[in-house]
C-alpha cells in the first residue's frame, strides 16, 4: 500500500504552515479558502496553537500581526474580497516589519463575482493593493504537494525579511485533491526568528547594522520594552517627522526585497533548453500549460514552460536570460492580462507576446492553449 494520502490544496496549506511553526490562525470564512480556516481550527489545538474566527478580514489580519508581534508565527487565509479588506493592515505589517503569511485563494471577481470559480485576478492586488511604496513577496503553488512545501518557504522568507508574505493560491489548486507523500518533518528547513541584537551595544529595536537589511525581532513580553508603529519611525521605533529618516526607512524596506531577489525568486522551467516558444504561467494554470507543452512537444514543436514560483518580485532576470532564444511568448493566466504586463515590461517589445486569458470563471484547457499556439503559427 502506498504511503501517500489524498489531500486537498487548502488542507496542505495548513499542514505546511503548521510544519513551518504557525501557531496562531485568525480568519474569516470565505469561499474558496474556508477549508483553511476549518482545518486550522481542527489542527491548531492539537499542536498547542490557537485558532480564532474573527468578525471580519480586517480584524483577522490585525490579530495575525498582533500575534506575530507577540512572538508567534501566524497566518490568515481569504479570497479576493477579504484580501481587499486586509490591504491597509498588510501595509502596516510591511511598515512595522511584522512577519506573517496571508493566503489568498483567488476566485473570480470583481466584487462577489463567482465565488466558487477560479481566477488569478488578484495578481496585481497582491503587488499594489495597499497604499504607499512597500516591499512585496508573493509565492504561488501549482500542486497540492507544492502548496505544502512552498508555504513553508513563505514563512521562512517572511521571518528572514520581516515582511508579510502573500501566498497566492487559486481555486484550482485550493480545491484540488492529489495523492501526496509529505516530506519527513526532520528534513524541513525552518527559519526561526533571529536572536535580538539588544544584548549587544545597540539597544535600538529597529537598528540595522551597516550592510544588512533586516532588524532583529524582539517579541513582546521578553524583558525589553519597545514601541511598534505604522508611522514613519526611526531606529528606536518611535514616530518621526524627519523626512531624511522616513526616506531612509522606506528605501530600506524596498531594498530588503529588491537587493535580495536572487534569494527570493524561484522559477520552474520545463523543456526550455531549446524552446523557441515559452508559455509563461503561474499557479493552477500551470496544469493545463504542462499538458499542452507535452502535446506540442510530441508534435515536434519547440515549446517550453516558464513558471514563476515567486510571482512578486517577478523573475525578471530569469525571463531575460531566455529572451535571445525565443521567437515568441504566450502568457496564459486566469485574468484579463495582469502578469502579462510584467512580461511585456521585461520583453520591452523585443519578442512578440501573445495572451490567453479568462474572466468567466472557467478553466483554461490544454486544447485552448494548443489552438492559441496554432494561431501564433508555432
Amino acid at each position: 500500500m502506498s504511503k501517500a494520502v489524498l489531500m486537498q490544496g487548502n488542507e496542505a496549506a495548513v499542514e505546511g504552515a503548521i510544519a513551518a511553526g504557525m501557531r496562531v490562525f485568525a480568519g474569516y470564512p470565505i469561499t474558496p479558502s474556508t477549508e483553511i480556516a476549518e482545518q486550522s481550527s481542527l489542527r491548531l489545538p492539537q499542536v498547542g496553537g490557537h485558532f480564532i474566527q474573527m468578525e471580519d478580514e480586517i480584524s483577522s489580519i490585525a490579530a495575525v500581526l498582533g500575534a506575530s508581534a507577540a512572538g508567534v508565527k501566524a497566518m490568515t487565509a481569504t479570497s479576493g474580497p477579504g484580501f481587499s479588506l486586509m490591504q491597509e493592515n498588510l501595509g502596516y505589517g510591511a511598515m512595522a516589519e511584522i512577519p506573517c503569511v496571508i493566503v489568498d485563494v483567488q476566485r473570480a471577481g470583481p466584487s462577489t463575482g463567482l465565488p466558487t470559480s477560479p481566477a488569478q485576478a488578484d495578481y496585481m492586488q497582491a503587488r499594489w493593493g495597499t497604499h504607499g511604496d512597500h516591499p512585496v513577496i508573493a509565492l504561488s503553488p501549482s500542486s497540492v504537494l507544492e502548496t505544502y512545501t512552498l508555504i513553508i518557504r513563505a514563512f521562512n522568507l517572511s521571518e528572514k525579511y520581516r515582511t508579510p508574505v502573500i501566498f497566492l493560491m487559486d481555486e484550482i489548486v485550493g480545491h484540488m485533491r492529489e495523492g501526496v507523500e509529505l516530506p519527513n518533518p526532520n528534513n524541513l528547513i525552518i527559519n526561526q526568528r533571529k536572536p535580538s541584537f539588544h544584548d549587544g551595544a545597540n539597544k535600538q529595536c529597529y537598528y540595522v547594522p551597516d550592510g544588512q537589511y533586516v532588524p532583529a525581532m524582539k517579541p513582546f513580553g521578553r524583558g525589553e520594552r519597545y514601541n511598534i508603529t505604522g508611522l514613519a519611525h526611526d531606529e528606536s521605533g518611535f514616530p518621526t517627522n524627519n523626512t531624511q529618516v522616513a526616506g531612509k526607512l522606506v528605501s530600506r524596506l524596498l531594498a530588503k526585497v529588491e537587493d535580495n531577489v536572487d534569494d527570493i525568486v524561484r522559477v520552474e522551467e520545463y523543456a526550455m533548453d531549446d524552446a523557441e516558444t515559452a508559455i509563461v504561467c503561474f499557479g493552477g494554470t500551470t496544469r493545463a500549460v504542462m499538458s499542452a507543452v507535452l502535446e506540442a512537444r510530441a508534435a515536434g514543436k519547440k515549446v517550453g514552460m516558464f513558471r514563476p514560483i515567486t510571482v512578486w518580485p517577478f523573475p525578471e532576470k530569469q525571463l531575460k536570460a531566455r529572451l535571445p532564444q525565443l521567437r515568441n511568448i504566450l502568457m496564459a493566466e486566469h485574468n484579463h492580462g495582469q502578469m502579462l504586463l510584467e512580461v511585456q515590461r521585461i520583453v520591452n517589445d523585443g519578442t512578440p507576446v501573445s495572451f490567453l486569458g479568462k474572466v468567466d470563471g472557467t478553466v483554461i484547457t490544454p486544447a485552448e492553449i494548443l489552438a492559441k499556439l496554432q494561431e501564433m503559427e508555432v
Binding site: 500500500m1 501517500a4 480545491h175 500551470t286 507535452l294 490544454p366
Partner: protein, 189 residues
C-alpha cells in the same frame, strides 16, 4: 492524454457525489496510482447541480480537470441530460434506473441500476447511495481491489459507520452482473 481515465460524478447537492469522487481518488492513491480530484458546485448545500471529477492515471497528471469523461455517474435527470452531451468515445454511463435514458446514448455503454432504491430499501439508509454507487462503479470498472476500495471508504466516513458502509459497498457490487463486469472492465493504459 490517452493514459488518463477521466471520471465525472454528477447529481444534486446532498447526494454525496463529491464524496464518491473523493473515495475513488483515495482508492487510486492507495493503489499507488496518480490521481487528481476536483469539484464544481453552486451556492446550495442541498439541491442544485453538484459535479465532481476524478482523473486516474499511471503517470503524472497535469491538467486537473475532466474534459471528455470516460465514465459518468448521474443520479438526477438534470445531471444525466447535461453531462451526457460531452463524453469521450465509448464512455460508460452509470445512471439510476429511475431516470429516463437519453435516446442518443449507446445502450451497450449504459449501466442503469437502482442505486437510490438499493440505498433506501436494501441498505436501509438513503444517504448511503453514494457508497452504493462507488461499489457498483468499481464492480463494473474494476480499477481497484475490494480491499483498496474499502480502505478508501474508511478514510472518509465517521468512525462507527464501517458496517453500514460495507453493506452499501456490497449492495452496490451486487447490482453489477458478471456480464456487465466482463463488458466494462477498464485496464489503465
Amino acid at each position: 492524454m490517452s493514459n488518463r481515465y477521466e471520471m465525472r460524478f454528477a447529481g444534486s447537492g446532498g447526494q454525496g457525489v463529491i464524496l464518491a469522487s473523493v473515495i475513488m481518488a483515495e482508492a487510486a492513491v492507495i493503489a499507488g496510482l496518480k490521481t487528481v480530484q476536483s469539484q464544481a458546485y453552486g451556492p446550495e448545500a442541498r439541491g442544485g447541480v453538484s459535479k465532481a471529477e476524478t482523473v486516474v492515471s499511471k503517470e503524472q497528471i497535469w491538467y486537473s480537470k475532466v474534459t471528455l469523461p470516460n465514465f459518468l455517474l448521474a443520479l438526477t435527470q438534470a445531471s444525466l441530460n447535461t453531462y451526457t452531451k460531452t463524453l469521450a468515445e465509448g464512455a460508460v454511463v452509470m445512471m439510476d434506473d429511475s431516470l429516463d435514458c437519453p435516446a442518443y446514448l449507446d445502450p451497450g455503454r449504459v449501466i442503469a441500476i437502482p442505486i437510490l432504491r438499493t440505498a433506501k430499501e436494501k441498505v436501509g439508509k438513503a444517504f448511503t447511495a453514494n457508497i452504493v454507487a462507488v461499489g457498483a462503479i468499481n464492480a463494473a470498472l474494476q480499477l481497484f481491489t475490494d480491499e483498496e476500495l474499502m480502505e478508501a471508504v474508511k478514510r472518509h466516513i465517521p468512525a462507527g459507520t464501517e458496517e453500514i458502509n460495507r453493506k452499501a459497498l456490497d449492495a452496490g457490487k451486487e447490482l453489477i452482473t458478471p456480464e456487465q463486469a466482463a463488458a466494462f472492465v477498464h485496464h489503465l493504459g
